[in-house]
Amino acid sequence: MSKICSLAEAISSYVHDGDTVFCAGFTHLIPFAAGHEIIRQGKKNLTLARATPDLIYDQMVAAGCAKKLIFSYIGNPGVGSLRIVREELEAGRLEWEEYSHFGMISRLQAGAAGLPFMPMNQTAAPDLERSNPNIRRVKDPYTGQDVVTVPALNPDVGIIHVQRADEHGNAQVWGILGEQKEAAFASRDVIITAEEIVSEDVIRSDPNRTLIPGLIVKAVCQVPHCAHPSYTQGYYDRDNVFYLNWDKISEDRATVNAWLDEWVHGVQGAEEYWQKLGSETHARLAVKPRYAAPVNYGDY
């Protein structure tokens, strides 16, 4: 049965006020279009989890969607500070839970594997462990040494952007893999957004490239350019200019609100947003193809 639906339908069916939402993607494949749809639908009191909240959560926090943030690095990658998030945290208006990158991904790994927690070796750094009561210790039953533990993270909804998927949600990814797979397996409901919807035959021609199987996916949405201003390997480049611009836009709430009005509320969806960026931006982000050598699976 086909799981294809519009992004608006997927968000309205699976993202509820108060949910814990994980928009996956480590710098690569960040599903900005889904974040913008959540803003347009006025979802509230969300707990937003991501290793790097990135601009997507800065925008969702600015739009008033979030009650709490779970993260491991709140910077604007390659630029500096994530101003809105930082301001809200400093003002005490946003709850937060903080880990290191490994703590964060270990929480997802436990959630994805159906385990209650994950053990990690000690790093010698004491202060985060002291500050976050969710970071604990247990005795390794084999050596008697302490290991550090973090609890499983099982988001209500995981939103994962991919290069291509079929109508069942079998999804193939290449390039930086981040926490895409763990986020999908850890989440209760998985929404796949894809640059391209392809036939099942295309997926079956290269099964090793399938990161997420359709059997854990609830909805599949075709959303070309979903990841802008982040990128999709082989499809379009990262829009570093926008990452720099956001640093200016986010200096002031009035310009942030104007930006949200124009680029989120003022467009119907990802297609209109992409067209609005204009041909100069499209040309700047275009990538020349470079193909992998084909592999031989054998005709058995």
């Binding site: 480590f26 710098t27 690569h28 290793a51 790097t52 993260f71 491991s72 690095y73 709140i74 910077g75 990658p77 390659g78 500070s81 994530l82 930082r86 945290l89 400093e90 005490g92 903080e98 880990y99 290191s100 990158h101 490994f102 991904i105 270990s106 997802l108 790994q109 990690m120 070796n121 000690q122 790093t123 010698a124 750094a125 004491p126 202060d127 985060l128 500050s131 040494q145 302490d146 290449w174 390039g175 930086i176 893999l177 981040g178 926490e179 895409q180 797979k181 763990e182 990128y231 390997q233 480049d237 990262r238 570093n240 990452y243 990538v287 470079r290």
Partner: protein, 258 residues
């Protein structure tokens, strides 16, 4: 050579590059560490293996990466893996020789703060980005190098928050935790090099040409001591500067600074 001018960033980058040994497996960040690693690979360490936190192994970036997950890192790399694998199988398992670190504050024992300045954790005066991968890099890489400009506010006697471990209150205390990595080995600044002594306290081991002990003392938040003999670093070579300026960061994005 005396008319050879260079920026503070170029000076730090070149000195950091010289610390790398051929064949090292390096966990690379963006900015100066990335430039230092690529400079070393193009000069004395052609067999350097660059591993990026985003899960890229054996990267050969053909343009300057502007974020830790730049797509240029992937194209032509040896392997790409997920975030859990890079932190567990590479870093935690002990497969990383060198990690590069930076931070808002570095203290007398090489502890790094990238979390909060002032106030307490729940009510920080200034909220910084947080650990990212640096807690694990500092804990588990065999050797760590820190690159940072030499300013008093960056070198307090004690950091406000230990995001990533140096030697805590002394080398023995770090050893007690059982963390596998050796801790910081050198701090590269625009004035010189600091290295931990037997107790893990950072002491001045070298000055860059034209820099003085007085400048170091003025810009350090504790009574910084010197190692037995303070040496002078070799000035940047024209060939090193040329590689940096013409090929690695032609736009001067990371190297222009002062």
């Amino acid at each position: 050579m005396s008319d050879l001018t260079y920026t503070a960033s170029e000076l730090m980058c070149i000195n950091a590059a010289r610390l790398l040994r051929d064949g090292d497996v390096v966990f690379v960040g963006v900015g100066l560490p990335n430039l230092a690693c690529n400079l070393a690979r193009r000069t004395h360490a052609p067999n350097l293996q660059l591993i990026y936190e985003a899960g890229v192994i054996g990267a050969r970036p053909s343009r300057l990466p502007l974020s830790i997950g730049d797509p240029t890192l992937v194209t032509g790399a040896v392997s790409v893996c997920g975030m859990f694998d890079i932190f567990s199988q590479y870093l935690q398992r002990g497969n990383i020789d060198v990690g590069f670190l930076g931070g808002a504050q570095i203290d007398r024992f090489g502890n790094i703060n990238a979390t909060i300045i002032g106030g307490d954790y729940q009510h920080p005066k200034v909220r910084l980005p947080g650990s990212g991968g640096s807690q694990e890099i500092a804990g588990w890489a065999n050797r760590c190098y820190i690159i940072t400009p030499h300013q008093k506010r960056r070198f307090p006697e004690k950091v406000d928050f230990i995001t990533s471990a140096g030697f805590l209150n002394g080398r023995a205390q770090r050893e007690l935790t059982g963390a596998r990595g050796g801790g910081p080995l050198v701090v590269v600044t625009n004035l010189g090099l600091l290295e931990p002594d037997a107790n893990g306290e950072l002491v001045l081991s070298a000055l860059h040409p034209g820099c003085t002990l007085e400048q170091v003392r003025e810009n350090t938040g504790w009574q910084v001591r010197t190692s037995g003999q303070v040496s002078t670093t070799e000035p940047p070579l024209p060939s090193e500067l040329q590689l940096l300026r013409e090929e690695l960061d032609p736009g001067g994005i990371y190297l222009k600074g002062s």
